[in-house]
Symmetry: C2
Subunit: 247 residues, 2 copies
Amino acid sequence: MTTVLSSRAAIHTETVEYKQGDTMLEGYLAYDDSISGKRPGILVVHQWLGLTDYEKHRAEQLAALGYVAFCADIYGKGVRPKDVNEAGALAGKYKSDRALLRARVNAGLDMLKKNEFVDTSRVAAIGYCFGGTTVIELARSGAELNGVVSFHGGLDSPTPADGKNIKCKVLALAGADDPFQKPDDLTAFESEMRDNKVDWQIVFYGGAVHAFTQPDPGFSNPGAKYNEKADKRSWQAMKDFFAEIFN
Amino acid sequence: MTTVLSSRAAIHTETVEYKQGDTMLEGYLAYDDSISGKRPGILVVHQWLGLTDYEKHRAEQLAALGYVAFCADIYGKGVRPKDVNEAGALAGKYKSDRALLRARVNAGLDMLKKNEFVDTSRVAAIGYCFGGTTVIELARSGAELNGVVSFHGGLDSPTPADGKNIKCKVLALAGADDPFQKPDDLTAFESEMRDNKVDWQIVFYGGAVHAFTQPDPGFSNPGAKYNEKADKRSWQAMKDFFAEIFN
């Protein structure tokens, strides 16, 4: 499908089936087909509700910026939580099995890199909430990419020593008032980055809670709420980060 | 004096005498005189060594971006510390007398606003180290401006209740490994911002210590050291902040 977002950009989008081991996954690709030649690729990792229109829209925004964007599917084709109970169970399953989580997100990264328009020397990953945890885990897996951006992601790790594997730059964008971000996890994350001499940054947006980039986080909780200012600021921070790492 | 920084920009600079009460102060003005009409104004507040070439250069950089920049003089005309002992004593004096510090920085802000090229509805202040503390204090004084940016400034306050006076947006840019930034001060600052519903943000740059924007911090200490990446990133963060607040 080609969606015309503006007079300039014609965004091609398509659903893409791919596999991790024997598991079928269903991702989503977006790029501007009015551009020719190779360009940086961005992996987009979904929040706990799985790959939804939210992530697809982000991929289209990235495509309009000139990137090839690919939304990974961590849960599997057809595995789309109906409610937050199912979402919590699924996200919990992968957070408890980091080896599987790493395999799934790396399968998405491989798919992105295989795209004919992707300059494989210029690749990054972004993720939201559960996906924000996942992209840090991707970095911890030792994956070859330039950088990862975590939007309101949990930063905890059961194996902080794996910080030694990180080869890419890390940018974490966090709500200063996110009640789901445990102070101990934050301290542990900072120590992990510091101890392993990672090139890392973290931004805290005052007044922002969890899920601050999501107009509809899919559940009602005062601790998870859209914040337009933090949304715009974090998107700008991501763009600056890309400008730096793809320079 | 007019310095040609590029084929495009002709930066006019001048030393400006002004007063706070009976005390003579000596600031430094910079603007691009190839631009006509009013434009946003930026106050620049010096580090503990007083107004040096470092701040003047920052003012020239801001002028080249199209702003009117004015370096405040907090210490007074001719009061320029010869070494870090004198610098420490002077900075300590003003940090211990926040009323005087506020009066001095507001005198600089007034001078900036009086400049014929400044659009007084679009004004911000930036500061480095001691100046990074001072611009937050300017905000706490209830000054009318759009925003303040603190580069590796101490964020402590003897009167956190004064956070209620803050009318402008606050951006703090900090070294994640700055040994001069006491964790308790950081926690208190965050509480002050939060309790008073200030529009605030803080960025921590991994691997950066104190004075990360200063190629020559004027003293040798492993806890105060230039960091090119953090310098560039923080300057970009400031530019984004200005783009937002002057929109």
